[in-house]
């Protein structure tokens, strides 16, 4: 088995764990962590392919993904904190103000 497929399998497992965490958990913070897991899985795929193809452009794309992840974490946690200040909870089932 070539090393590329090893990387791809690890990345697929990581993405699966992240996606199942998003679907399983109720706490918004843990859902954030699982989103980070999925982003990392994608980064791993990009790195593996960039190495396999011998093209460093894939690594540049990973930088952009990291930057967007940092921005997402900052804004998302700010929203979570302000929601917590109003509702005293971060459980997604209880944040149902928009329910019809």
């Amino acid at each position: 088995m070539s090393s590329l497929s090893n990387y791809l399998i690890v990345s697929a497992i990581l993405f699966m764990i992240g996606a199942s965490g998003v679907m399983f958990r109720k706490n918004v913070i843990v859902i954030f962590m699982c989103v980070e897991l999925m982003l990392n899985a994608v980064n791993l795929t990009l790195i593996a392919f960039s190495q396999f193809m011998g093209d460093q452009s894939g690594q540049i794309l990973v930088f952009f993904v990291m930057t967007v992840a940092a921005a997402e974490a900052a804004v998302g946690l700010a929203i979570v904190i302000s929601v917590y200040r109003n509702k005293e909870t971060v459980e997604i089932d209880k944040l149902n103000l928009l329910k019809g």
Binding site: S2, V10, L14, S20, I29, M33, L37, I60, I81
Partner: protein, 222 residues
């Protein structure tokens, strides 16, 4: 040797991710995320992405993880147990996650999978997919030229990874060149994006000032 270290890092990564996704205690989840990020940084190093591995540690471990732990501390009461979704939705979620895994694997290993191809002289030959390539060297980067030429000889097969990394001067030179030539505009745009998002985050998270505080602020400014 390469494989053993790869499996160790992969096990750290996947184990940390499992604890993150399924631990009942949120603090455990946050700290096992640390192991996942470290494992991924190790995997980056093994893929010759040294600069990115350091960036991974700086940005994820030093920034995002600290931010997440702050979020945990600010929003959860000590001793609360995270309740997961009901059993019905749990089955659906598990099946969906496994289906996603199957789709990803099919995409990785099914794309351009083994097929016969007719070459110019009419002979049919078997062409294998890139993901299951055994003859093509794992790394095509220019740091790996010796191993590439060696591995292209059919009798050698996969390259010796330890030898392939000899003489590597790192990827930071090439990354810097790419950032300031081909990717200059996205680089600038993304720096504006992160500035705006940080300002927005502080705006969203700050406390709304009360009437008295506003009055005090006005009297001070006048």
């Amino acid at each position: 040797m390469f494989d053993i270290i790869f499996y160790i890092f992969g096990a750290i990564t996947v184990g940390g991710a499992l604890v993150t996704a399924f631990a009942r205690n949120i603090v455990y989840a946050a700290f096992s995320l640390l192991f996942t990020f470290f494992g991924i940084a190790g995997l980056y190093i093994m893929a010759n992405a040294d600069f990115l591995a350091v960036t991974q540690l700086l940005v994820y471990v030093g920034g995002i993880l600290i931010l997440l732990i702050f979020g945990v501390m600010l929003t959860s009461r000590i001793g609360t147990v995270d309740i997961r979704v009901g059993t019905g939705s749990r089955w659906v979620a598990g099946i969906m996650a496994l289906g996603l895994f199957a789709i990803l694997c099919a995409a990785f290993f099914g794309t351009a999978a083994t097929h016969t191809e007719k070459s110019a002289d009419g002979k049919s030959q078997v062409v294998t997919s890139w993901a299951t390539h055994a003859t093509r060297p794992w790394s095509g980067s220019k740091w790996n030229q010796d191993a590439t030429t060696e591995a292209l000889k059919p009798k050698y097969g996969a390259p010796d990874e330890v030898k392939s990394n000899e003489g590597s001067s790192g990827t930071s030179v090439e990354i810097g060149t790419l950032f300031l030539t081909d990717y200059l505009l996205p680089f600038e745009v993304i720096s504006v994006l992160i500035l705006v998002s940080l300002l927005g985050a502080t705006m969203i998270a700050r406390k709304e000032p009360t009437k008295e505080e506003e009055a005090i602020a006005e009297s001070v400014s006048v």
